[in-house]
Each structure stands twice: as C-alpha cells, then as structure tokens.
C-alpha cells in the first residue's frame, strides 16, 4: 500500500514539476495542483500506518489511525484550494488585459539589459573613433 502511495506521490511530483516549468498560467495552475496533491499524499503516508477511524468510543484507541496527518493534509488542501482560486482570478484578469495568460519576462529587467547594451555600443563607437584618430595622427 505505502509503495503504491509513494509511487503515486512521485508521479504527481514529477508531472507537476514539468507543468510548473511551462510559460502559460493555466498549465502552471494544473502543475501547482498536482504537486500539491503529491505533497498531501506524502503527508498522509507520514502517519503511523493504517487503522480504524479515530473516533473515541467506536474502537480501541490502540487500533486508531494517526489523525494528525489527516488534519494537516486537510488544512493544506483548503489553503491550496484558496490560492488556486486566486490564481485563476489572476489568470482571468491577465486574459482580459492581454488576451493571453503567458507569464511574461520582467519588463524592467529587459529595459536595464537594453540600457547596458546601449552603453556598450556607445563605448565601442568611441573606441573605434579614437583608433581612427590615432591612425590619422600616424599618417
């Protein structure tokens, strides 16, 4: 059982990671969901193995399944659910603005990079001019 769960978690992590590395928010969203499920399965298997439902009065407490990982997984599912809903709203907003949901490069980064290249061009031109002047002097 736990081998099966471990394999399931591994598969979810692997496919989720692949989707997370995509550029489109819709794919990233599915990726986030898969990775989240993977970690929840991992949480569930972290308890002390199976048992009966941990409700006091229904069975001997020594036979109980560990309730804590279930509580933790439930909390994490709720949180992932909320954030996924927020991401969906963000993706919709992005679609309204650009008709696309591609996560773009940082605009300012590109601006800074271009500025640096512009400096380089200026420097190269200056260097070329100076060399030309030296050349003319020699003549």
């Amino acid at each position: 059982m736990s081998v099966l769960l471990a394999l399931a978690a591994a598969f979810l992590f692997a496919s989720g990671t692949y989707l997370l590395l995509q550029r489109r928010l819709s794919r990233i969203l599915i990726g986030v969901g898969l990775v989240g499920h993977g970690s929840n399965i991992l949480l569930l298997t972290s308890g002390t193995g199976g048992g009966v439902a941990p409700i006091i009065g229904t069975a001997d407490p020594t036979d109980f399944a560990d309730p804590l990982p279930q509580a933790l997984a439930l909390t994490s599912i709720v949180i992932t659910f909320g954030v996924t809903a927020f991401l969906l709203a963000l993706g919709y907003r992005s679609w309204r603005i650009t008709h696309d949901d591609v996560v773009e490069d940082d605009v300012e980064d590109r601006y800074i990079a271009r500025r640096r290249n512009a400096d380089q061009v200026v420097e190269e031109e200056a260097l070329a001019e100076r060399e030309q002047a030296i050349e003319e002097d020699r003549r």
């Binding site: 986030v32 970690s39 990982p69 949180i79 963000l90 907003r93 992005s94 940082d106």
Partner: protein, 499 residues
C-alpha cells in the same frame, strides 16, 4: 500574562472581521484598523517587558497538552520582532490613509491589511512548525491580494510569478513537514528539538537544508531571491514598505528560529550559510547598482542586507547571533523608512526613475533630510544604528576567524554607500531631466499630504531612536542570543508548562 500571547494574532483578526462588516463606511474601517494595530503595539510592548524581566511566556491553545494542542510561545526574539513589526504596521497604515489611493479606493484594503498583520504576528508567536506554515499562508494570501490590488497590467504580471513562487515554497514546506513528521512523530518545535538529535546525521542535515530552502525563498536568500525585486516595486506605494520591511524578515526569523532551536550544532549549516550570505550580499548590491527605478533599487538592496543577517547567524556564536538580531531590528525600521520616503519622492516628483527626476533638494528639502538619515544609517556610517549592527557583525566575524566573509561584508558596505550616493545624486541633486517632471514639481498637484510626511517622519525618527538607544538594544540582542544558543530552556518551559 500568559494569555496575552495570543492577542497579537486575535486582535487583528477580529479587527479584520469587523472591518469586513463595516465595508460601506471607510471611516469606520480606518478607526477599526487604527485601534487594532495600536492595541497590538501596546500588547507587544507589554510582552517584551514581561519576557525580558522574567521568563518566556507560553500558552497552549485550548489547554491541550503539548503534542496535541497548538503551542504559542513568546521569548525574547519573538517579543522584539512583535514590537518592531507592530510599530511598522501601524505607521504604514497611517501613511496609506494619508496617501489615499488604494486604501480609499478599495474596501478590501483594511481587512486584508489586518490579516497580513495577524499572519506576521502569528509567525512570530507560534511554537509549532505546522502552525508556522499556516501563519505564513495567512500572511502570503494577504500579500497576494495587496500586491495585485488595482489589477494593473504590471501588477498582474509580477503577481503571477510572486504567487507561483510562493506556492512552490509552500509545497516544499508541506513536503518538509511530512518528512519531519514521519521521522519524528511530532511537529511541535520544542518536541522536535528533543527528537531531531536522535535521528541519523544524514537525515538531520537533509531536514536542515530543506527548511533553509523553504525559508530562504521567503527571505530572498541567494539564489532564491529573483522573485523579490520583480514583484515588490509593483505593489501600491505603502504596501511595498511593509513587504520590504517585514515579509522577508519573517523568513529570516524562521531561519534563525529553526536553525537554533531544532537542530543540534552538528546539523547547523554554518559554513554553507556563510557562503550563501556572501553571495546574497554581493549579488544584491550589484543588482541594486544596475537599476534605474528607485523602488527597484531599494528592493535589490533588501536582498543584499538579508546576507548580513544570515552572516551573523551562520557564525553560531553569541556575538554573531546578537549582531544578527540587532541587524534585523535595525533593518526593518530603516528599510521601511526608506521605502516610505521613496513614496514621498514619487508623489513629489511624479516619477521614481532616477534618469528622469532630480533637484529635489531644492524643491523638497524636507524629503531630502528624511532620506538622508536612514540612507546614512543603512550605509553603516557612524554613529547610526547601521554602523553598530555592522560593527557587531564584523567584530564577531573576526572573532571566529572568518576573514573572507568579513572582507565581503566591508566591500558590500562600501557599495551600499555608493548605491545611496547614486540615489542621492539622481533624486536630490541636479535638475529634473524631463520637462514634464519639472512642470509637475512646480504645480500644486505635487504637494505631499501631511499625513504621509508625518508617518514617514515618525519611522525616520524611530530609526534615529535606534541609534540613540543602540546600547540597551544591543544588550537585549545579546540576552536574546544567549537564549537562542541554549534552546534547552525553551524546550523545558514549553513542555513543562502543562504539568
């Protein structure tokens, strides 16, 4: 006194609920937020005094015993973080009200801001690793909303990457929690402190590194900081100040707490963290140098200074950790002050591009003074608090014979000075290079609301107060470091509490 521990979380959450109910009346929302955050300041100060005089405070939620219930604990480190963060949250709220834009336009601002406050406080008071995850999420979800409030294209773009990277970090956190729980059978930090030493060294180191990865993303540690300078500057003005001052420091707090409390000395990643600290400092400051946008420059600069805090921690000596704690406190105040002043500059000059604005020293001398004080402090000039912090860190580095990191930190200090000088000459000296900017400065629209200037002045005054009271504060930091280096006491009080 022990029941006070939960108040810094409960008060803002209650305020948030009330604020949602009073959504149609902005004045009521403002009153609720101001009262809640002011109350938080008083509660935090009371906690600080009590914890420093006496013993750390512990509360078991609902009276459940340690492995079952949720532990809330305030020691010296938590208390000082609570005081500084509550002061910053209050000042920034006043600033946001004065600024008027997002706060007055959206009814969601006040409730979400209070949830952010509750999340920050909860991260500081929790004594349970899973609860720390919940506190992080509370804080992050609030920050997602605040970051994208307004839904402008560049906010949506940077919001996407911010939310996704935070989600990835959260997933790592859940994974780490699952692994730690299956190895130790608990997520209570005090119990973990007893059980982790029983694990095999490889597993311990793995956990230690996994937690550094999780908290490193939040703190903006090299090489996990790329999301930070991209997303922070796009938030509404006042919000950037809170993010810059507090959110990354919550990550730093979590690194300090987990490394000192959970792991025995042989699993603490001293030399690894030192290397990370060095790279964080250098890359951050070089990134800041390349920028043209004032708030982006300051954002890169946060990254650089996270390196200093990690440097102090990574030594794992009394002087080092004391220096790190002092530096965290100093940096929260000074960085918030700088971002608030950046907001003033943007309001007065109509832009925050260094290549477009200039000459503010003549048109707005008050803003120039307000910028100069925290800028000199962050550059580490004596007698400002930044100097005291850097002096303590460098001293402890020399004591531990870590010459490489000392050299790096001094070099970065110089470069920081250079960054500040660049901002100064771009913003305050010269003439506005853009005629529309010059016309804007002349016009009446560029007048800065009194409340904004007032709130910024208060935070700058606080940063000056840090300089005046640097002695007592450093003594306090030293007592904090003593506590952190002897986690047995923490464990004893938390676990012994219910007996």
């Amino acid at each position: 006194m022990n029941s006070l521990v939960a108040l810094p979380v409960i008060v803002p959450l209650l305020g948030s609920a009330l604020s949602v109910l009073s959504a149609p009346w902005r004045w009521a929302q403002r009153a609720i937020s101001l009262v809640a955050l002011t109350a938080n300041v008083f509660v935090s100060v009371a906690l600080l005094i009590s914890v420093d005089d006496d013993e750390m405070l512990v509360m078991q939620a609902g009276g459940w015993k340690v492995p079952l219930g949720i532990t809330l604990a305030v020691d010296r480190l938590s208390a000082v973080m609570l005081v500084v963060s509550s002061l910053m949250l209050l000042s920034v709220l006043v600033y946001a009200i004065g600024q008027g834009s997002e706060e007055s336009r959206y009814a969601a601002f006040n409730p979400v801001y209070l949830v952010l406050a509750a999340g920050v406080s909860a991260s500081f008071v929790t004594g349970d690793l899973f609860n720390l995850f919940v506190a992080f999420e509370m804080m992050l979800v609030a920050s997602y909303v605040l970051l994208t409030l307004g839904g402008r294209p560049r906010q949506v773009r940077s919001g996407m990457s911010y939310v996704v990277i935070s989600l990835v970090a959260s997933t790592f956190f859940i994974t780490a929690l699952a692994l730690i729980y299956s190895a130790t059978g608990t997520v209570n930090m005090a119990e973990l402190s007893q059980r982790i030493p029983e694990l095999s060294p490889g597993v311990r180191t793995g956990f230690s590194l996994l937690l550094i990865l999780v908290f490193g993303i939040k703190a903006g540690l090299f090489p996990l900081f790329f999301w930070l300078p991209d997303s922070y500057p796009t938030a509404p003005g006042a919000i950037t100040a809170v993010f810059a001052g507090l959110l990354t420091k919550v990550g730093v707090y979590a690194i300090i707490r987990s490394q000192t409390l959970l792991f025995p000395p042989d699993a603490q990643q001293g030399s690894f963290l030192l290397v990370l600290a060095g790279f964080t400092m250098v890359i951050g400051v070089l990134g800041a140098l390349a920028q043209d946008d004032l708030r982006r420059m300051l954002s890169f600069h946060i990254v650089s200074h996270i390196g200093y805090m990690i440097f102090g921690l990574a030594l794992f000596t009394l002087a080092g950790i004391a220096g790190a704690v002092f530096y965290v406190v100093h940096h929260i105040v000074v960085k918030t002050a700088l971002f608030l002043v950046a907001g003033l500059v943007e309001r007065r000059a109509g832009s925050d591009r260094l290549s477009r604005i200039g000459g503010l020293v003549r048109s707005a001398p008050m803003i120039a003074v307000l910028f100069a004080l925290p800028a000199l402090s962050i550059a580490g000039l004596p007698p400002f608090s930044g100097f005291v912090g850097k002096f303590a860190l460098v001293g402890s580095g020399i004591e531990s014979d870590e010459w490489a990191i000392v050299a790096v930190s001094l070099l970065v200090s110089l470069l920081t000075m250079y960054v500040m000088v660049r901002i100064w000459s771009g913003v305050f000296w010269g003439e506005p290079e853009d005629p529309t900017i010059a016309a804007w400065i002349e016009s009446d629209d560029s007048r800065v609301p009194r409340l904004m200037t007032g709130a910024a002045t208060a935070v700058v005054a606080l940063s000056v107060a840090l300089m005046v009271f640097a002695g007592p504060l450093y003594d306090y930091a030293q007592r904090t470091a003593e506590d952190l280096l002897a986690p047995e006491r923490y464990v004893e009080i938390v676990i012994g509490d219910h007996e």
